[in-house]
C-alpha cells in the first residue's frame, strides 16, 4: 500500500534523465580538466574548485544514475550513505591535518 505513493515519482521510463546526467558529468569533467591543464589560477583556490566539481559529480551519479531517491520505506540507504561520506571526508581531512604537524618536525 505504501508503494502506491511511489508511482508518481518514477512513472516515466525515458532516457532523458540519463542523457542529462551523462552530459552533466562530461561537462563537469571538462571544466576541471581545462582548469587544471591551463593552470588558470593559483593552486590553492583551484584545488577547492576541483573538489567542488568532483562533489557535484557524486550528486549527478546519485540522482541521475543511481536513483538514490527511490526505494520502498524509509531512506535508510541515504542515511548510511551520508554517514559514509562524512566518515570519508573526516578520515581524509583529519589525516592531512594531523600529518602537517609531522612535516614540521622534519
Amino acid at each position: 500500500m505504501e508503494r502506491g505513493a511511489q508511482t508518481t515519482q518514477h512513472g516515466h521510463h525515458s532516457p532523458t534523465l540519463y542523457i542529462v546526467g551523462y552530459v552533466l558529468s562530461l561537462v563537469l569533467t571538462a571544466i576541471s580538466f581545462v582548469l587544471a591543464l591551463t593552470h588558470a589560477m593559483s593552486v590553492g583556490p583551484m584545488m577547492w574548485i576541483l573538489m567542488i566539481l568532483a562533489g557535484l559529480q557524486i550528486l549527478v551519479q546519485l540522482f541521475f544514475f543511481m536513483h538514490v531517491t527511490e526505494g520502498d520505506g524509509p531512506p535508510y540507504h541515504s542515511v548510511t550513505l551520508l554517514i559514509g561520506l562524512i566518515f570519508t571526508f573526516a578520515i581524509c581531512l583529519m589525516s592531512i591535518w594531523i600529518m602537517t604537524f609531522h612535516y614540521q618536525s622534519y
Binding site: 521510463h13 593552486v43 568532483a54 551519479q61 543511481m66 548510511t80 559514509g84
Partner: protein, 209 residues
Amino acid sequence: MALAEKHVTSGGSARASSIEYRDPHQAVRILGFWLFLSTDMLLFACLFATYLVVRTHTDGGPTPHEIFDVPGFTIETFLLLTSSFTGGLATLAMRNGHKKQLMVWLIVTILLGLGFVGLEIQEFMADVAEGATMQRSAFLSAFFTLVGTHGSHVSLGIGWMFITLLQVARRGITEVTARKVFIVNLYWHFLDVVWVFIFTVVYLSGVVM
C-alpha cells in the same frame, strides 16, 4: 488499498514501483547493497588519506608530474564516464522490459570497462618500465595501491556484470534478475564516482602541483 488494487489490475502500465523493488525480499537486498557501498567507500577513504599524506614523499624518484600521462588518463576517464551512462541505459531498458536492449547495453558497458582496465594496465606497465615501481617510494606505493584497488574493483565488476548478463539471457527479466541488474549497476556507478575522485585528487592535482 484501492490504489494498490488498481495497480494489480492495470498490470505493467501503471506500476506500483519498479520491478526490482516489487518483491520485498529483493528490495531488502538493494538496501543491503547500499550498506556495502557505504563501507566500501571507507576502504577508499583510507587509501585516499594515505595517498594524500605521502604523495610528496617521492624519495628522489619519479614525481607525479613526471609519470602521469595526460591523454592516457583523459581517455580512461571518458571511457568510465561513458560506461556509467550505458550502465544506466541498461537499467532503463530493464525497467521498460526490453530484454534485448538490456543485454546490448550490458555488453557495451562490459566492453567499455575492458577498455578502461586495458588502458590502466598499459599505463602501469609504462610506469614500471620507467622505473616507477611500487617499491620505489611512498608516493608510488600509495599510488599503485589506490589506483590498483579501484582497477581490481572494476575488473571484478566486469566479471560480475558478465555473469548477470548470462542470467538475463537464460531467465529473462524477472524480479530476481532485475534486482541483480540494478545492483551491479549501482556498483558500477559507485566505481565511476571513485574514479572521478582519483582523476581529481591523484591525476589532475599531480599535474597541477
